[in-house]
Symmetry: C2
Subunit: 383 residues, 2 copies
């Protein structure tokens, strides 16, 4: 029998990133495709006698000790909030799912950056959202197009990644953050601010969350421990406006009751021991070196017509080319290099001439070999 | 501002069980309300050098080593399946959410036992399902009403808990399992079989999954490690018919990318070390003693008019009374005893004269004191 599926199921696209993960793991393959943190700089797990105490069922919002430590850390990052409105999630992806289901019906309008995070596109398409793109180009976020979208729509939700955006690496300036917050307050739409890359700040740029500046609009702020500590623990978090928090609790209960407690206890222990600040400094130096080396390689090996903005943080270079890039994935794999064409992240604006390259995980020699292979593939496609 | 919410959000009921958890934790309160396993019989976590290897992002379907061990265990339980179609979930609650979203649209008909599992009712109501109840009474599952519902509806999904059902404790006989499977095959509806209590089999009754007997219908089988090992790790699993598995993968990616790997590695290690069989035997003896003691207390302290069937497994007694029980929760809390009225689990059939009592977690002295308090509350309400 063929099962009768829901409209959600039939609309839900599969993820190209996760599907090519297996290709990336073939011997000799060099992959710039994923957004994996470098396992060599993950700390060893802190030891504690308390872990045996978290084996029973727990509370839907998460471990109090983790929430308290998290609130302290967020305050040190310029974002004051109350532990009462913090929820621990199974990675920040789950937070995106929970909040989207609370706000989006079939046909609901949602404002998004164009291009934007792949798995959020996947989710919003599954839910049947009507996506209203705002341009994220070389001059930053297009405030005029944002205001037009807000004025001309009934959007319930705006989804932004203001800090080291995925895929473009763009980081909103202070002035942009304030201007965006003012527009959101004026038009009363719920802001969903996704902030997984915050700690990977190489050049000390301004990163205060847009949620901090909102006066009347409702909002959800999402963060992750995956990029700073251990993604395998699947522990992320949300902070929500008080009007939204009780709904998130119900949605979390129905989704998985609560997040795994051992992961929460381990991260709480790490924060409690005061180890995070030094570790973040180490991460910043480590990834900055990778970014700088990638930039050198791109300048050395790619044609002078390829353009990019040096990302001040995060994990990605976003390249704009004079040639069509849609065949780079298939042709690249034949040559032992995996690169994601920008089309994977496109909402409406063409991304046919763009590529996203991750620099987060690779050894220098592999990175060099990979960029050389990419240069050859581009030359072949050009010919 | 008041956020504009989705229809899912506005339909989603809150969970009375989770809301009274805080009441249950007040000093002196004796609670029969939850379904918590007894922490005193949870094993210590197995030690392994391999845990550092699961700190990176993982695969959406879960750890191979856990899936292989799981398939071996399921085969020993009379259910042959392939690791290829096993997915590890963030507790079996997540499996229910993933599969329901794949099958249920607003207005979709779903066949369920009446009464049934509270959090699944919550979820299906949130999704806007039209629930078609089949009676689960003193004589077991009502096959005639099942066939009527199948014949007269366009149901896409049937949700059953055939083994130590929550809340009634009922366990389908072999003949009932075969008859139900034949009907499901005949009417081609997807079976969602929820089986969290399987190992808590006190009297050696027949428990082979109904999914085993299906010939042509599609199905999803859900299981949990929460009742046999550590609920705090939030590690459950699904086995799916090949036609459904790829859709579950997409849905899992959009929901949380993958489940926490440390929990998976710990459980895999426990299974790999061959420790499960002895532990299950210990659990069965432990909970059987509690069940038998509860039965003695019920016979001793409650009026002779209260009726129940001795549950051959699971965690609950389901009591039928000659009096209205809807005030028992509120009045009980005033007297220091928390008991769930059956109405919380009702679909359509009245459950105004029923109560669910958990016997899984309590010390004998507390259990006795709690049943005495309950007897008093019932007498007061009667008067």
């Amino acid at each position: 029998m063929t099962p009768k599926l829901s409209r959600y199921a039939t609309r839900l696209p599969s993820s190209p990133v996760r599907e090519i993960l297996s290709v990336s793991q073939q011997p000799g393959m060099i992959s710039f495709a994923g957004g994996l943190p470098d396992a060599s700089v993950m700390p060893t797990l802190p030891v504690s006698d308390s872990y045996a105490n978290v084996m029973q069922y727990g509370t839907s919002d998460g471990e109090g000790i983790l929430k308290q430590n998290l609130v302290k850390w967020l305050a040190s990052e310029g974002f004051e909030c109350s532990a009462e409105y913090v929820m621990i999630t199974s990675g920040s992806q789950q937070g995106l799912d929970l909040v989207s289901r609370l706000l989006v019906d079939e046909g609901s309008e949602v404002i998004v950056e164009d291009p934007t995070y792949l798995a959020m596109l996947q989710l919003l398409k599954g839910l049947g959202a009507k996506l209203l793109p705002i341009n994220l180009g070389e001059n930053g976020v297009d405030l005029e197009s944002l205001e037009q979208q807000l004025k001309n729509s009934q959007a319930r939700m705006i989804y932004l990644i203001p800090t080291f955006q995925n895929p473009t690496g763009y980081c909103y300036t202070e002035a942009e953050r304030i201007a965006v917050a003012e527009l959101i307050d004026r038009y009363q739409v719920t802001l969903v601010e996704d902030d997984p890359y915050r700690v990977l700040n190489f050049d000390g740029v301004f990163t205060r969350p847009i949620c901090h500046y909102l006066k009347t609009a409702t909002w959800v702020y999402l963060g992750s421990f995956s990029k700073m500590l251990w993604p395998g623990l699947r522990t992320g978090f949300m902070v929500a406006h008080p009007a939204l928090f009780p709904w998130l609790m119900r949605s979390k209960q129905a989704a998985d009751l609560h997040s795994n407690r051992l992961g929460q206890a381990i991260i709480a222990e790490y924060l409690q021991q005061g180890l995070l600040a030094d570790h973040v400094a180490k991460l910043q130096a480590h990834y900055k070196e990778k970014r700088d080396y990638m930039q050198t390689l791109l300048k050395t090996h790619l044609p002078a017509t390829v353009r990019w903005r040096l990302p001040s943080g995060g994990m990605f270079f976003w390249l704009e080319l004079d040639q069509d890039t849609r065949q780079v994935l298939v042709k690249g794999i034949e040559s032992g290099v995996v690169v994601l064409p920008g089309t994977a992240f496109a909402v409406e604006k063409s991304a046919d001439h763009t590529l996203r390259l991750s620099f987060s995980q690779m050894k220098p020699a592999d990175m060099e070999e990979g960029i050389k292979r990419l240069a050859k593939v581009l030359a072949q496609l050009q010919a």
